[in-house]
Symmetry: C2
Subunit: 340 residues, 2 copies
């Protein structure tokens, strides 16, 4: 799929979806739209991605595209009206538009009419399917091995770890697939359900459906977790994924030296060893799973400190650990694939 990615005023640091697609997607990225960086190159900012020009708007994209992907989400998930000419321009040339905003572009009258007229599709990634139902408690019956990333907080590296592990497994010849549960993962995979937008009653059922669908295609599934089990706001989403996916093994993601829940500074994060035990005790009655590996985000540390932090983390959770971005996710594969 040939795409342009909209990331005005946010590339790369506030354009998580854009960077996710560049790093992990199999899209052919023709251009990134960021009017504050027009003339620069993707490679200047994301060294491990395929290169592409950065341009100031859709009219500067000369090549044909299949879709324009909104690769940035402002706080609150709203639609920035300065993006309207780009979305309009994409639809006018018959390209699809893909977005993970809270504001559904498909409900915007101008975009809906234009899409109709040009036979283009608008895909709002956060809109749940309308035929979801309750979980049947059957995901543990699938033939695939199921590995779930869980975390000690939001933004603790679950999505990155999921994709890094899947890539490392594929490098080893394993037929590995990803089950994305958030909008960036969904944009990368062009598949998935944003579980946090699903009605509570159906959240586990949504995950179960994805695991069962993807298990028919792959031997090993890496399920992207959300939130954290001791998060004051999102623990329900986390629990629904844990019990809906019924994973065989868990990978615990944590940010080095991160001690209180982000945005909830009055809620301390339990020590990683306790946290791992909590996930295991909550999994046990529904579908037992152990924390077999750890992923530590050491971005804020220097190399020496990072190595020491990983070692300490591995000891705390009593399992092999690494920083899958700074070091190599492949180190975790024997444990994660159950070969130990």
């Amino acid at each position: 799929m040939r795409v342009a990615i909209l990331a005005h005023e946010g590339f790369p640091d506030r354009a998580k979806t854009a960077v996710g697609i560049l790093q992990y997607g199999d899209h052919e990225v023709v251009a990134v739209l960021d009017r504050t960086r027009a003339g620069e190159r993707v490679r200047d900012h994301v060294p491990d991605a395929a290169d592409a020009p950065i341009v100031d708007g859709i009219d500067a994209v000369g090549e044909p595209i299949d879709a324009l992907v909104v690769g940035i989400a402002p706080i609150g998930g709203g639609f920035d009206e300065t993006w309207r000419p780009d979305v309009r321009g994409a639809l006018e040339r018959g390209a699809d538009v893909v977005a993970g905003l809270h504001y559904f572009l498909g409900d915007d009258p101008e975009f809906a009419d234009l899409a109709d007229e040009r036979d283009a599709a608008i895909r709002d990634l956060r809109r749940p399917p309308d035929d979801l139902t309750v979980s049947e408690g059957t995901a543990s019956d699938v033939d695939a091995e199921v590995v779930l990333t869980v975390g000690t907080d939001c933004s603790s590296g679950k999505m990155t770890t999921t994709f890094e592990l899947a890539a490392a497994a594929r490098d080893r010849g394993v037929d590995a697939g990803v089950v994305p549960t958030g909008q960036t993962g969904i944009a990368v995979e062009n598949y998935g359900i944003a579980v946090d937008r699903v009605v509570s009653d159906f959240a586990a059922g949504a995950v179960e459906r994805m695991v069962e669908e993807r298990a028919a295609e792959f031997d090993v599934l890496f399920v992207e977790g959300q939130g954290a089990i001791a998060h004051p706001a999102y623990s329900g989403v986390t629990t629904s994924i844990l019990h809906g996916a019924m994973p065989d093994r868990l990978v615990l993601c944590h940010v080095a030296d991160h001690e209180a829940v982000h945005g909830y500074e009055h809620v301390p994060i339990p020590p990683p060893g306790e946290y791992a035990a909590l996930y295991e005790s909550l999994a046990a009655p529904v579908a037992p799973a152990e924390v077999v590996a750890g992923a530590l985000n050491t971005q804020r540390l220097d190399d020496d400190a990072a190595g020491a932090a990983v070692e300490e983390y591995a000891e705390a959770i009593d399992a092999p650990a690494t920083d899958p971005v700074r070091f190599d996710a492949a180190e975790l594969l024997p444990a994660v694939l159950g070969e130990d």
Copy 2:
């Protein structure tokens, strides 16, 4: 509020909301509509409720009413078209209609028009408010004492225990309120949010909002739990309530001799002592709370067996226990109110 309750072909055993209102509501029930029992009396079936006639339809209700409450929910939560004349009849006389169905009566064109015309309101109890947001993690700051009922399964007595404890506390002069989280409780209290219908991300926030609102009115709150923490489908709802409400104390509800999750017979229910510990360990990192009492549903046992089962249950969870329907919820008050 003077009401008639629709319960066609379901009263009393399949009309949980009707019976809940009769037992725990402060509504004045003018009549119950059940065409299969017309001519009988409420007292013939629900001995501990105020008496009222059972009639075959709205036209047989001679007295004025403020509202018709749909007191029955067929499997799937659909609307039974044979009820249409009753709903129409209620609206035609200017009465409100209150329902907890999945099918929203307010979206039915005939009913919506009629309500408009007669200046009557349609209240769909399962429709969440449209201004919900994420939890702020602040429910533990309220002045009221907060007691949450939790269970080992769905239908384990959480709603009944909540209302029985609140009534027993009021009998002792305690200024006790209920925070209902499901449609029957909401119909009884004429207040509340059906948490299972809330988007996952906002489920804890919905509970937090209710706790903060009701804490301004009452000294002690009894929060109605939903689902169970080891339930394959509904554990996300349970976790959102546990972390959103940030209760001071928990009451564990269980059905005697119930050993597998209802509808998920391949998932065994952990022993009550382990289950209590699991709730406590999940509560701890966000807002610590202990299981201070137990409510055992002994309906299927004879008197001797019931007494023995309660004793055994109390021992298993290491806390006072009773069957709040068969025996007396007041036995639990010292523990539940933290007076022990």
